[in-house]
């Protein structure tokens, strides 16, 4: 029974476990260093199809978009950096580039008023890592609890392990829940300069406000070719064409 988490890992898709082949990553980087940013972005995207959990690939793709400097590239760069950040929030380079790009759209990575140390601590683990730690602690608590029930003679020895695992599950579960309840739940990034946000899902509704390229928004609903979005910083919401944003989740 204790080997079940390991079994789950073995059942996971092999592609998810694979890192990008170093020689192909190096080849894509050479395109980037030769200022062939469009070709480099294509290569990074191909590699990401095989290794979707690679924070380094998302980061490199963000760099390639950022260097392109074409309309919409800043928004795509921020979307890629944001994906990398959600996968590996402890990486200083990812944080630096995401913050650098966000400042160009009038945003900052850390919320206003939050001390940097608190922000770093809060983002020490990604949401997936928190979820995984919660479930591992949950499994440990349940299995050790079952052992304590079944093996009466070993109950005294197993009980502290069960309680420690249960405490870990509560701790990581609370952290995970806090992460899910705060910040972006279904984020997207605006990829069009001064994208028009209307009061309803259609061209016949008036334009309420415009959002600069690169601004992170929350996806609230969708209808046909339209997303309903919220702009947390300004407390505004409205409908925007799906072609004007790139979902991050």
């Amino acid at each position: 029974m204790r080997a079940l988490p390991l079994t789950l890992l073995l059942l996971a898709p092999a592609s998810a476990l694979a890192s990008p082949p170093p020689e192909r990553l190096e080849a894509a980087n050479r395109l980037y260093e030769a200022s062939l940013f469009t070709e480099a972005a294509d290569s990074y995207r191909e590699l990401l199809a095989q290794s979707p959990h690679s924070a380094a690939l998302h980061y490199n793709l963000g760099n390639a978009y950022f260097r392109q400097g074409t309309p919409g590239a800043l928004g795509k760069a921020i979307a890629s950096y944001f994906r990398a950040f959600r996968l590996d929030p402890r990486d200083g380079d990812i944080r630096a580039n995401l913050d650098f790009a966000l400042r160009r759209s009038g945003e900052e990575l850390a919320p206003a008023g939050m001390p940097p140390a608190v922000f770093l601590l809060y983002n020490l683990l990604s949401a997936r890592e928190l979820a995984a730690l919660f479930w591992l602690a949950f499994w440990a608590a349940c299995l050790s609890g079952s052992a304590a029930f079944l093996a009466a003679r070993a109950r005294a020895a197993v009980r502290p392990v069960a309680f420690a695992a249960a405490a870990g599950a509560v701790f990581f579960g609370a952290w995970w829940a806090l992460r899910l309840s705060s910040g972006f739940k279904a984020p997207a990034v605006v990829t069009l300069q001064d994208a028009e946000v209307r009061s309803g899902p259609g061209e016949n509704f008036p334009v309420n406000f415009k959002v600069p390229e690169g601004r992170r928004v929350e996806r609230l609903d969708e209808k046909g070719p339209w997303f309903e979005i919220g702009v947390p910083r300004e407390g505004l919401k409205g409908w925007i064409l799906k072609t004007s944003v790139e979902p991050v989740g």
């Binding site: 029974m1 079940l4 988490p5 789950l8 890992l9 059942l11 996971a12 898709p13 998810a16 476990l17 694979a18 890192s19 990008p20 170093p22 990553l25 190096e26 980087n29 980037y32 260093e33 290794s51 959990h53 690679s54 924070a55 380094a56 690939l57 980061y59 490199n60 760099n63 996968l87 590996d88 990486d91 380079d93 630096a96 580039n97 650098f100 790009a101 990604s126 997936r128 890592e129 979820a131 995984a132 479930w135 591992l136 949950f138 499994w139 608590a141 349940c142 299995l143 609890g145 079952s146 052992a147 029930f149 079944l150 009466a152 009061s199 309420n208 406000f209 300004e234 407390g235 505004l236």
Partner: protein, 609 residues
């Protein structure tokens, strides 16, 4: 007399009085709506102060235009400008538009605060928007005797521009001349034309003049506006209008010898309102030529000079030097871009701040824009601040011109920080070894993938779904089993009864392989007696057949009598074998064993086991 009239028309007040008021079209606004804030600044002077808007954190503020009117009251000028702002609410709640100030010399004025409530869209009241200002009446039609093209009418107005084919961003002076040959009974009000696609700057009114047209002498008042077209193509200056009141029927010649008699008798007559409109003027705006456009050209059009100075040319390394860079000339100074200073790796260059000094006269806008920055030499020696290039387009020469400042040489002596021992430089302390950030950029790409397997494993664990219910189910089942087991162990009578059948079968099995008839028959007897004792919760030692049969009838009243009789018979047979062993054969014991086995099975079934 002309001088007297001109003095009456032009004399400025000793102290310019200023007033300001503000109004909104609604005080409750939904989050998806907007309100219009109208600010009116008035002063009896030729130049108007700009309103000073307060901080409005709950709104996005957009300027929606400015309209100016000028009134001539017996030679005094009353100037009024109406600024329109569109406020788009950002946050729900109560907002206050704070006092809006205006300052003209020593005169200050400010508006009262306006409270605005921002509500959710569904909570917005369905009220009609109130006008920001009292509604204007229908425009007066041009009156008899008034004309706009010149001639011998008592009042008329003309408009002209100094050029009709300007370049983009080139200054165009628009001049309106108001001619009148009769005394004005009321105030003449000037409403400027629509100048969409052009930036406008009001120029100060010029002095009053007189003109003789078709034998008639007129007073002439001028209004001038500097216009800067923003894009090439056809641009139209719309109609401007002047509203005034002239004496009805009787014309008073201000230059006649009996002017005073005419003037005072005119006061007894009725005034007639007159509205004069200027004709629209279309400009054909030319684009700037691409040929010869220097790199770094920022769109300046006009005639400019550039110069750069420092406040101290002999300093120590680490000392601050104020570098002042000035562009002066005629043109749209407000539109000048910040200069791009050349690379100066030997200096630490701080942020540039700019100030605008603008003067206006009848020929247009001129002045200077001053950029100030602080440079700090990082090393000693003779250091040169390179020439700063400023490019502009000169419409008179129809070509691009580059104005460069002179290079500035600084004599920099070693600073104290450079002479001190080199050590760790704490943040905020300037030293020769401090690192200077020259530019900011993104960090380079990754050449190694990193711990992707760990992240993929975390994703797999986090996404296992319903598999995570397994340990919880196991825990629940284990707990249930443990609870049952604990209850079982705490009730020995029931446990003994449960185990009775299995224990009796074990004894019967052992009796088959026992050595000797005595031991084998003893095990068979023990199987029956202990079974009954366990089931009836009686001590097996000393249990008699009578006790056993009584308890069976008492505990199991529904037990068939045949079963009880069989127990009595087998018990008797068992005692016979025990007390007369010499007559017993193997077959008797085997027969007894089988009979006990069958009896136990029947009892188990009959008692619900």
């Amino acid at each position: 007399m002309k001088a007297l009239l001109a003095l009456m028309l032009l004399s400025a007040p000793a102290r310019a009085a200023v007033s300001i008021n503000a109004s909104v079209n609604k005080t409750t606004v939904a989050l998806n709506d907007q309100i219009v804030l109208t600010v009116t600044v008035s002063a009896d002077a030729s130049s108007l102060p700009e309103p000073e808007m307060p901080s409005l954190p709950r709104f996005n503020v957009h300027s929606a235009g400015r309209s100016q009117s000028m009134t001539f009251i017996n030679g005094r000028i009353s100037n009024s400008a109406e600024y329109t702002f569109v406020l788009v609410p950002r946050l729900i709640g109560n907002a206050v538009i704070g006092p809006i100030g205006a300052h003209a010399g020593s005169q200050n004025a400010q508006t009262e605060p306006i409270a605005v409530t921002i509500v959710r869209p569904e909570e917005a009241p369905q009220q009609p928007a109130q006008p920001a200002a009292p509604a204007a009446g229908p425009p007066g039609r041009p009156q008899r005797g008034a004309r706009t093209g010149g001639g011998a009418a008592p009042v008329f107005v003309t408009a002209e521009v100094d050029k009709k084919n300007p370049f983009v961003n080139e200054q165009v002076v628009y001049t309106v001349r108001f001619h009148y040959a009769v005394p004005l009974l009321g105030n003449a009000e000037w409403a400027p034309p629509n100048t969409t696609g052009m930036l406008s700057e009001d120029l100060p009114p010029s002095g009053h003049q007189t003109a003789s047209i078709q034998g008639r002498t007129y007073n002439v008042s001028e209004v001038k506006i500097a216009l800067f077209p923003l894009t090439p193509g056809e641009k139209t200056i719309g109609k401007g209008s002047i509203r005034c009141q002239v004496q009805k029927g009787v014309e008073v010649d201000p230059f006649a010898s009996d002017f005073f008699r005419q003037f005072f008798s005119a006061g007894l007559t009725m005034g007639e309102p007159v509205t004069l409109e200027t004709s629209p003027i279309t400009l054909s705006v030319r684009a700037l030529p691409e040929a010869g456009k220097p790199p770094g050209f920022g769109g300046a059009v006009g005639r400019f000079k550039a110069k750069a100075v420092v406040d101290n040319a002999s300093v120590k390394a680490g000392d601050a030097v104020n570098l002042t860079y000035t562009v002066e000339g005629s043109g749209n100074l407000k539109a000048l871009a910040d200069p791009s200073l050349p690379d100066m790796p030997e200096f630490r260059v701080y942020e540039t701040v700019s100030s605008l000094n603008q003067t206006k006269d009848g020929t247009g806008v001129r002045g200077s824009k001053v950029y100030r920055t602080v440079v700090v030499p990082k090393v000693s020696g003779d250091l040169t601040i390179p020439a700063v290039q400023f490019h502009y387009f000169d419409p008179a020469q129809q070509r691009f011109v580059s104005a460069a400042t002179d290079p500035i040489v600084l004599q920099v002596a070693p600073g104290e920080a450079a002479q001190a021992p080199v050590g760790f430089s704490a943040a905020g302390q300037a030293s020769a070894t401090a690192i200077t950030t020259l530019s900011e950029d993104i960090r380079h790409v990754r050449s190694r993938p990193g711990a992707d397997a760990v992240r993929a494993a975390a994703a797999a664990v986090a996404g296992a779904g319903w598999l995570h219910a397994l340990p919880a189910a196991l825990l629940v089942l284990s707990g249930a089993f443990a609870a049952w087991r604990d209850r079982y162990e705490q009730d020995p009578v029931r446990a003994r009864a449960r185990r009775a059948g299995r224990a009796a079968e074990e004894r019967l099995t052992r009796s088959r392989s026992a050595k000797g008839l005595h031991e084998s028959s003893a095990l068979v007897g023990e199987a029956l007696v202990v079974y009954l004792a366990d089931r009836l919760a009686l001590p097996p030692s000393g249990l008699t057949m009578r006790q056993a049969l009584e308890q069976m009838r008492k505990r199991w009243p529904a037990l068939p009598e045949g079963h009880i009789e069989q127990v009595r018979r087998l018990w008797a047979e068992m005692e016979r074998i025990r007390y007369a062993p010499t007559t017993v054969r193997d077959a008797d014991v085997a027969q007894l064993r089988d009979a006990v086995h069958e009896l136990l099975k029947a009892l188990e079934e009959a008692t619900g086991r």
